[in-house]
């Protein structure tokens, strides 16, 4: 080691902060170099001047007591795990989950209802367009009702509403939503009314809707689901539904 290397290490040497190897090198140099040895002595004198003479302040009386007095009321900000720290969002999150669940349930039911009504509409359109609207042509309900007997596992009510302006013209069997449905066909002037009757009354359908320009009226009675569809104006179709329900 030369003087330039040793000088910066003198303080660390005197403070005992040098590693053994470098400290030995510094000592070896100081034994041979009087200039560095004098610098080391000067630094040692400075150091002891500070250590011996510089005031080390002691905490004033009362500071300890006032710190202790302040401590217990200053509760530490406990670092809770994130799921505790964010507990406020839990009710909110739960609400979202429930809301989404409800949304799916409601949306699903809505979609199923819509699909059901769409099937009624397409069935109505198809049968009228194909000219295959009526399997049994009869204005006599005593002809139509027995005709259904061998074709259905339920007995739909059949009424002739000619006195109310809705003459019965016939019946047919159709498939609606994977169920066999009895279809009664009524006339109103030049308009055709199809009344779809299925055995399950469980599924809820909107009472009155308009789909693809057709009006639909739905109700349940005697454990059966009735859906009347027509290109009639809505009030007239509602009148038909009322007449049928009264006859029922």
């Amino acid at each position: 080691m030369n003087c330039d290397e040793v000088r910066p290490l003198l303080a660390a040497h005197l403070d005992g902060e040098l590693d053994v190897v470098r400290d030995a090198d510094v000592v070896a140099h100081l034994n041979t170099c009087t200039a560095c040895a004098d610098a080391a002595l000067a630094h040692a004198a400075r150091r002891s001047l500070i250590v011996e003479k510089l005031t080390r302040y002691a905490a004033p009386a009362g500071l300890r007591a006032s710190i202790r007095a302040a401590l217990p009321t200053a509760a530490p900000v406990a670092r809770a795990p994130w799921w505790m720290a964010n507990r406020q969002v839990f009710p909110l999150a739960a609400t979202f989950v429930v809301a989404i669940g409800l949304g799916f349930t409601w949306g699903g039911a809505r979609a199923r209802r819509a699909a059901r009504l769409d099937e009624v509409v397409s069935s109505y359109v198809r049968s009228n367009a194909s000219g295959h609207a009526i399997d049994v042509i009869s204005t006599d309900r005593h002809t139509v009702k027995p005709w259904f007997a061998g074709k259905l596992d339920f007995a739909p009510p059949v009424y002739d509403l000619a006195s109310a302006g809705f003459p019965l013209v016939g019946g047919r069997v159709d498939r609606i939503h994977e169920q066999t449905a009895a279809v009664l066909i009524y006339n109103r002037r030049k308009h055709v009314i199809d009344l779809y009757i299925t055995p399950d009354a469980g599924a809820s359908l909107p009472a009155e809707t308009t789909t693809s320009g057709f009006n639909l009226v739905s109700w349940t009675a005697g454990g059966q689901r009735f859906v009347a569809i027509s290109d009639l104006a809505a009030p007239e179709l509602a009148d038909f539904a009322r007449q049928f329900q009264q006859a029922n």
Partner: protein
Amino acid sequence: MFTPRTWPTRNYSVAGFLGINRPVRRTDSDTPMNAGALATDFERAMLPHLDAAFNLARWLMRNEHDARDCVQDAYLRAFQAFDRFRGGDGKPWLLTIVRNVCYSRLRRTQTIEPPNIFDETVHAVPDDSAAEAERLRREVRLELLQKAMEELPEAMREVIVLHDLEQLSYKEIAAVVGIPIGTVMSRLARARLRLQQELRRRVDATEKS
């Protein structure tokens, strides 16, 4: 150290649900045993270093009143952060907080000289011999030494306090001040020399007058 937290009674109001009226800060009365035990741990670990904390604050702030405030503030902060204390020697940990409190208070009232403006060529010592240092040491007047120390830049003052008065190792000082160990070594050497120069200047000035 995590203390299980007890929550206030569940609040199912809309405001409580949305967290608008957050529960008030827990006071000691909620969990007397926890807070009390924690305070005891804290006191056992940190109160023995009260003199060290005050000494550092006193030298940095240069007056007793501010030093008192800083130490009080630092102890509160240390208590609140006590769960981050990883055991071992609490002294460097506490002094780091004290130092931060002091500096933020100093920054509010004055500007602090950046630590690296000291140039040894500017402050060259006329006589840096062992004889001169020894003479000063024998004849020192305490009030002049006091004044010289207070006039040192904070960066130099703090390494002298931390090492020569509080006996922290270079490594601990490096952690407290946030500088490399090599910088601690050179800064401490320059700080001692600078203090001697300032002292000599004052001794000469009083002798002349």
